[in-house]
C-alpha cells in the first residue's frame, strides 16, 4: 500500500466536515488517520465521542506514544501538539505555533518528515491559515495534498490559504473526499481528479 498516514487539519466548522468524511469511510479503512481540530484548551474528550458516533472507524483521543493503527482515527487532545513518529505519536506542550496548540503545521510537518511520500495531507474548513505551510511541506517530501473545495467549506479561509500555498493540490468538494481517500487507500486511481476552484 502506498500510503501510511492520513493527516487531517481543520478549525471552524471542522466537526461537521469531519463527521461527513469519517462517516463515509468503512471500518476496515487501512490507513491510520490523525486529526488536528483546533479547539479550546479546556475542552474534554467530547470531540472524540462525537466523531466516534458518526463513523464505523475507531476514534481515540491521543495519549502519549499511542501506536498508529489502521481503522483508527487519532484525535489530537486539546492543548498539546502532536508529533508523528515512526509507528506512533508523541505529545508535546511546546509553545503554540500561530497561536494554535495543537498546531496543524506541526503535525503535518512531522508526518511528512517521518512518512514522506507515504503521507496524505487534507485541509478542511477553518477560519485561520494554519496547515497551509504544513501541507506544502508534505508535498515537498513527496506526499499527496488534498484540500476541501473552499466553496463547500463552512469557513473558506483555511482551505483557501492551503490552495494558495499548494496550487498543485487536489481540491475536492466535501461530498467527494471520503470516496477519494478510499480510492487512494486502495492504491488504484492515483490520477488527479482535481476540480476547478
Amino acid at each position: 500500500m502506498p500510503y501510511s498516514i492520513v493527516a487531517m487539519g481543520t478549525s471552524w466548522g471542522g466537526l461537521s466536515a469531519l463527521t461527513k468524511i469519517l462517516g463515509g469511510l468503512p471500518e476496515e479503512f487501512p490507513i491510520p488517520i490523525v486529526v488536528v481540530q483546533h479547539r479550546s484548551k479546556d475542552s474534554d474528550r467530547l470531540l472524540a465521542q462525537l466523531l466516534g458516533d458518526a463513523t464505523p472507524l475507531k476514534v481515540v483521543e491521543v495519549e502519549d506514544k499511542d501506536a498508529l493503527c489502521a481503522g483508527t482515527v487519532h484525535v489530537a487532545p486539546a492543548n498539546y501538539h502532536i508529533l508523528v513518529e515512526q509507528g506512533y505519536l508523541s505529545l508535546t506542550t511546546e509553545e503554540p505555533v500561530r497561536f494554535s496548540r495543537p498546531s496543524i503545521d506541526v503535525m503535518f510537518t512531522s508526518a511528512a518528515d517521518t512518512y514522506r511520500s507515504e503521507t496524505i495531507g487534507l485541509i478542511l474548513t477553518g477560519a485561520n491559515e494554519d496547515g497551509a505551510s504544513g501541507l506544502a511541506h508534505i508535498v515537498k517530501r513527496g506526499g499527496r495534498a488534498l484540500i476541501q473545495d473552499p466553496k463547500t467549506a463552512e469557513i473558506p479561509i483555511m482551505p483557501e490559504a492551503a490552495v494558495q500555498a499548494v496550487p498543485t493540490a487536489e481540491v475536492l468538494g466535501l461530498d467527494d473526499l471520503a470516496a477519494r481517500l478510499l480510492e487512494l487507500s486502495r492504491g488504484a486511481a492515483t490520477v488527479d481528479r482535481r476540480t476547478a476552484v
Binding site: 487532545p77 505555533v97 503545521d105 506541526v106 510537518t109 518528515d113
Partner: protein, 292 residues
C-alpha cells in the same frame, strides 16, 4: 543547501526535499547528542526523536546554520551555544492549578489517604518554574496537611529552580490562575496568596517553608528517598519509551507501598513494565496507586 526559513516558519521543519536524507540526518543527530553527552554530560540521547529533532532545527534556523553537523561544531566548541540549546531542549510550560480537574480529584481521592499518615513526603519531579509546586502547597495548607508535609521539588535545570525558589510569577497570568484555582476546588480567595511586587506577583513565602528545591536529573540520577506521592506531569512525554520505562522503574523504587503516582493528563502507564504494579484511582485522571 537551503534552510526553510520563510516558507515553513517556526515549525522546525528542516531542510528541503533535495537535501533531506533522513537516515543521514538521524546519524547527525545521534552524533550530536552523543557529543553533548560526552563533552557536557547532558544526556538527551533517549529523548523522543521527532520532538528533539524539531527543536534542534529551530536552533539551526535561528543561528542560520546550514546543517545539523554545523550545529554540532558550534555546540561542541562554544559553551554559550550549549547554554542556548539547553534552554531550547528543556520545555518549561506550566501553570498554577494546571488541569483543574486533577486537583479536584486529588482532594477527593488522595487527601483522605494522606490524612492517615503522620508525615507526608512528596516528590515533584520536573517541577520547572514551580507553579505546580505552589499549587500543591496551597492545596495541602487548605486541607490542613501542609505542616506535616515535605515537598521535594526537582528539575534538571538550575535556572528554572532559581525562579521557582524566588516565587515571583507574571502578574498577567493571575486572572487565568484565579480561574484555575476556583475550578480546582480552592477554598479561599486566590489573591490572598500573593502581593503585587517587583513587577510581578510575589507568592506567600510560607508556602515554600516545607519545600526543598533541588537539582535532579531523571535520566542519570538515582532515587534519593521514599515518598508517599510522586508527581511527574508532562515530563516523560519528551522521553522515548525505553527511557520512560527506566524512569518508571525509578519512580516505583521511590514510592512507598500504597503510595501515589501522578502523571500528566495524556500520559499513560500502558505497556510499561510496571503497569501491573499500579491501580488507577479515579479515571480519567492519571492518578495511580502502587499496589504491589
Amino acid at each position: 543547501m537551503a534552510v526553510q526559513i520563510a516558507e515553513v516558519p517556526d515549525t522546525g521543519a528542516g531542510p528541503d526535499r533535495q537535501a533531506f536524507k533522513p537516515d543521514l540526518e538521524r546519524i547527525e543527530i545521534e552524533l550530536l547528542l552523543e557529543g553533548i553527552f560526552r563533552h557536557y554530560g547532558f544526556d538527551f540521547r533517549a529523548y523522543a526523536y521527532a520532538s528533539i529533532r524539531r527543536r534542534l532545527w529551530k536552533r539551526i534556523e535561528a543561528e542560520r546554520l546550514p546543517s545539523m553537523s554545523a550545529l554540532q561544531e558550534r555546540v561542541l566548541h562554544e559553551p554559550a551555544m550549549m547554554e542556548k540549546l539547553l534552554l531550547d531542549l528543556s520545555i518549561n510550560v506550566t501553570a498554577m492549578f494546571r488541569d483543574p480537574s486533577f486537583y479536584v480529584t486529588f482532594r477527593q481521592h488522595v487527601v483522605p489517604l494522606l490524612r492517615t499518615y503522620p508525615f507526608i513526603r512528596i516528590w515533584h519531579a520536573g517541577c520547572s518554574t514551580g507553579e505546580e509546586v505552589y499549587s500543591m502547597a496551597m492545596l495541602l495548607r487548605e486541607e490542613g496537611l501542609y505542616d506535616r508535609s515535605r515537598i521535594y521539588a526537582t528539575d534538571i535545570n538550575e535556572v528554572v529552580l532559581q525562579r521557582a525558589k524566588a516565587g515571583i510569577f507574571p502578574l498577567e497570568r493571575m486572572q487565568e490562575y484565579t480561574d484555575n484555582y476556583m475550578r480546582a476546588g480552592g477554598k479561599r480567595s486566590f489573591s490572598e496568596y500573593y502581593t503585587a511586587k517587583y513587577g510581578g506577583a510575589l507568592f506567600d513565602q510560607s508556602l515554600t517553608k516545607n519545600v526543598v528545591f533541588s537539582q535532579h536529573n531523571l535520566v542519570t540520577d538515582r532515587s534519593f528517598s521514599e515518598f508517599n506521592v510522586i508527581l511527574c506531569r508532562n515530563v516523560l512525554i519528551y522521553f522515548d519509551k525505553t527511557l520512560q520505562s527506566k524512569v518508571h522503574g525509578l519512580f516505583y523504587d521511590s514510592l512507598a507501598m500504597f503510595g501515589v503516582l501522578v502523571l500528566g493528563s495524556k500520559e499513560t502507564l500502558r505497556f510499561m513494565s510496571h503497569e501491573e504494579c499500579y491501580q488507577q484511582m479515579a479515571p480519567p485522571e492519571k492518578i495511580f496507586r502502587k499496589v504491589r
